[in-house]
């Protein structure tokens, strides 16, 4: 058993993936999207290629409609069409799955729709969400933005702690 632990340790030390700084398989740091009024939202990018920046203004247990968010990312795909998938889990069981069209060819909802691969995007504006009361607890949220080819534009593993 000792040997196994030692081997793991050695492997952890010498393996290229955990050395930090650009290795394949590196995990991105966990960021705080907001920490306020009894609500804490943490997120981590699950796109192996890049991290992104996200923050929510005014985070309360009673989520206001049309929350203001800030979002910064480099696009790795064109986004003429962009879809958001959200799945919400608590204690390992799924409680909500939804898919929302953000940009469609016949209905670009946001000003950033239609931007091209390689563009850097900074969005500060409303989210167009409904009013929502979050019951107390800890939630896992998986968010994925993807285009018409199902290529990932952004992916986030978020944790919502409501106390």
């Amino acid at each position: 058993m000792k040997g196994f632990t030692a081997a793991l340790l050695v492997w952890a030390l010498i393996s290229p993936s955990s050395g930090g700084g650009g290795g394949v398989g590196e995990t991105w740091p966990t960021h705080v999207a907001c920490r306020d009024g009894g609500l804490e939202v943490l997120y981590q990018s699950c796109d192996p290629l890049q991290d992104f920046g996200f923050s929510v203004e005014q985070c309360y247990k009673q989520l206001k409609p049309n929350l203001s968010i800030r979002f910064g990312i480099i696009l790795r795909e064109d986004i003429n069409k962009l879809f958001l998938d959200v799945s919400l889990l608590t204690q390992g069981s799924s409680i909500l799955n939804l898919s929302y069209p953000v940009c469609e060819e016949d209905f670009p909802r946001f000003s950033f729709c239609g931007r091209k691969k390689g563009e850097q995007i900074y969005y500060a504006g409303p989210l167009n969400n409904p009013r929502f009361d979050i019951p107390e607890g800890k939630y896992q949220v998986l968010l994925e933005l993807y285009n018409e080819n199902r290529s990932t534009v952004a992916c986030a593993n978020a944790t919502v702690i409501c106390s």
Partner: protein, 661 residues
């Protein structure tokens, strides 16, 4: 200590193999041999030696090329498409593309360009498309103009451009697309626009610029393919500025995140002084909506009012006789009659999709639209117990009807009698209620395509599809059959002209051998995502040249008598089946290898049994079953030796037994 050492060795081995994987990851992906390569995200600082000289299409985005110069791409003289998105390029030196005569598309999006040499784009004989999006350009003088005679599209979005004044000598004759999205252009002068008069059918994009002024006459007597002023705060500026211009398509919509002024009828007056075929006003608020709001839309042929917060359209709108296409998606209607369809007698295309409220279809709300050919009423939560003759009254010319993603429709016999010319009917994901002997689609003589996927249909109704003599494409995905079986007598007996049949995800366990007997013309059968075994293949015995999808079923063993049926088809997908890779399936496995060119999804067609071969691709399996000639020889020799041995043993035993006598 010994286990520690071995573990350490193991660890070194694992990490070493990781390194091998990462270094082999550094290879570009070949998409088409000797022609198309993808080297994205590899952090390369030069063109890899492994790329052949014949490369024509190179996707090289997200690498590292601070300086590009004459020698950077010299070897790849056949390049026609080069994508250098986000390669951190600062400098493009003299004659970088000197030898690239074929280069037609160059993408430089997202590079922090400091300087492009005067001759940096010289070389290509016909550079047609140039992407300089988000490259930090603040003046168009930055772009070297010497070799842009053949340029058809120039993308300059997300830069710091405040004036669209083109440099002197900028060739515009062949220009079709000039894209200034998300820049800081606030004023358009006559002088700016003059050079563009040479271009014919130009598309100009000023989306995200917030134009605050246009010099009167700047656009006058010029013909544009399309003009986009999306997200402009004050639209009257645009309408006044476009005085005396001609545009096929004018996009004036706004967005969720943009503050804009409400649209008043007075603002739209400017439209009287210009010629526009198609206009988009998505997401705007109208401050005083009345029958005169559209006074100047007399020549408009297509109007898009997606998400304009409408609860109805006023009656008595005059002069919209020419309107052919009307889009009213994502609005707030309660009832279909609230759109006052009688205003638009020439309408051929009507889209009311994704209404924010539950939409009532009412009775005869569209009856004045005698010319209507296409009607989209999808995603509207429509619920009606008796559809659709009253609702679609008098739509004699309707060819395409989309009622998908609604709630519940009750259909009687001849439910679409009012639209006898229907060619395509989409009812996917709408719960349909049809009583058993009824034939709702009866007399749709011209219907070619019918999508009934996920309609919760009663498939035991043998008359369901009666009266569809021309039906060519039928989608029944996600409906269930009684006992998971398609019996000998079934609903397909009335649709003999069917060529495409989709029965995926129908929970099927078996198909009767005679079930598809009346379907002799089929060319595409999708039976994927069911629980079928190989026995069901015999239902296809009378068909040839099929595209046959049997993916994700329960096929284990395919017996030899079924193989001729597979052989006579053109493409077969057997992926994601629990296929048996033992000698009991040897005939199929042999057939599989001989017919690889017919098979689709080879990577996902793997063995499930025996455990030793689980996950191995069928095409890689090598089994030797039965006895070979050499085996027979050895067997004979071996049994011969055993026989001799036995004889000798018997002899010895006998001698031993009787020597005492």
């Amino acid at each position: 200590m010994a286990p520690n050492v071995s573990c350490f060795l193991l660890a070194v081995l694992i990490s070493a193999s990781c390194k091998v994987i990462t270094s082999s990851d550094q290879m570009c992906i070949e998409k088409e041999a000797n022609k198309t390569y993808n080297c994205e995200n590899l952090g390369l600082s030069e063109i890899p030696d492994a790329l052949p000289n014949t490369t024509e299409i190179l996707e090289f985005s997200f690498n590292f090329l601070p300086t590009i110069q004459n020698r950077t791409f010299r070897r790849l003289i056949n390049l026609t498409f080069l994508d250098l998105t986000r390669c951190q390029i600062n400098w493009i030196h003299e004659d970088t593309f000197e030898s690239h005569h074929q280069l037609g598309i160059l993408v430089l999006t997202g590079n922090p360009l400091i300087f492009m040499a005067e001759t940096s784009l010289n070389g290509p004989k016909s550079l047609k498309h140039l992407f300089l999006i988000q490259t930090g350009i603040s003046s168009l003088e930055f772009i070297p103009v010497h070799n842009l005679v053949n340029l058809e599209s120039l993308y300059l979005g997300s830069n710091h451009i405040s004036s669209m004044k083109l440099p002197k000598d900028f060739p515009t004759r062949n220009l079709k697309v000039l894209d200034f999205q998300n820049n800081a252009i606030h004023y358009l002068s006559r002088e700016d626009m003059n050079p563009l008069k040479q271009a014919t059918n130009l598309s100009l994009n000023f989306n995200g610029n917030d134009i605050k002024g246009i010099e009167p006459g700047a656009f006058s007597s010029t013909v544009f393919q399309s003009l986009n002023f999306g997200g402009t705060f004050n639209l009257s500026v645009i309408f006044n500025g476009l005085w005396n211009s001609t545009t096929r398509s004018l996009w004036l919509g706004t967005f969720e995140d943009i503050d804009d002024q409400d649209l008043s009828s007075a603002m739209l007056e400017g439209l009287c002084e210009m010629s526009v075929e198609s206009i988009n006003l998505q997401k705007h608020h109208f401050s005083d909506f009345s029958s005169t709001t559209f006074r100047c839309f007399t020549r408009v042929q297509a109007l898009d009012l997606t998400a304009t917060h409408l609860e109805g359209l006023p009656s008595g709108i005059e002069g919209m006789n020419l309107l052919k296409k009307l889009v009213l998606n994502v609005n707030n209607f309660d009832q279909l009659c609230q759109i006052n369809a009688a205003n638009f007698p020439s309408l051929t295309h009507l889209y009311i999709k994704g209404n924010m409220k539950k939409l009532q279809l009412g009775a005869g709300c569209l009856e004045k639209l005698e010319n209507l050919q296409k009607l989209d009423l999808s995603h509207n939560n429509i619920q009606t117990p008796d559809c659709c003759n009253l609702q679609l009254k008098n739509l004699q010319h309707l060819q395409i009807l989309n009622l998908s993603y609604n709630e519940l429709l009750g259909l009687q016999s001849q439910a679409f009698k009012e639209c006898p010319r229907l060619e395509l009917l989409d009812l996917a994901f709408t719960n349909l209620h049809v009583n058993t002997p009824q034939s709702p689609f009866q007399n749709l003589q011209l219907l070619r395509v019918l999508n009934l996927s996920h309609c919760l249909l009663d498939t035991s109704n043998q008359h369901l599809l009666a009266g569809l003599p021309d039906l060519w494409h039928l989608n029944l995905q996600g409906n269930s059959f009684q006992d998971g079986t398609i019996p000998k007598t079934n609903l397909f007996q009335t649709v003999g002209s069917l060529e495409i049949l989709i029965l995926s995800s129908c929970g099927l366990l078996s198909i009767d051998q005679q079930a598809f007997h009346s379907l002799g013309k089929m060319s595409h059968v999708d039976l994927s995502h069911n629980s079928l075994t190989s026995n069901s293949i015999s239902a296809l015995g009378h068909l040839k040249g099929l595209y046959l999808n049997l993916a994700a079923n329960s096929i284990r063993i395919i017996l030899p008598h079924l193989l001729p049926i597979l052989s006579q088809q053109s493409t077969i997908n057997l992926s994601h089946n629990p296929l048996e890779c033992t000698c009991s399936n040897i005939h199929f496995l042999t057939w599989y290898k001989e017919n690889l060119q017919k098979l689709e999804g080879l990577e996902e067609t793997v063995c499930a049994n025996p455990p030793a071969l689980r996950g191995v691709k069928l095409s890689d399996v090598k089994l030797s079953c039965g006895i070979t000639a050499l085996g027979i020889f050895f067997l004979i020799v071996f049994s011969f030796l055993i026989t001799i041995l036995l004889i000798f043993a018997a002899k010895y035993l006998l001698r031993y037994k009787y020597q005492h006598i």
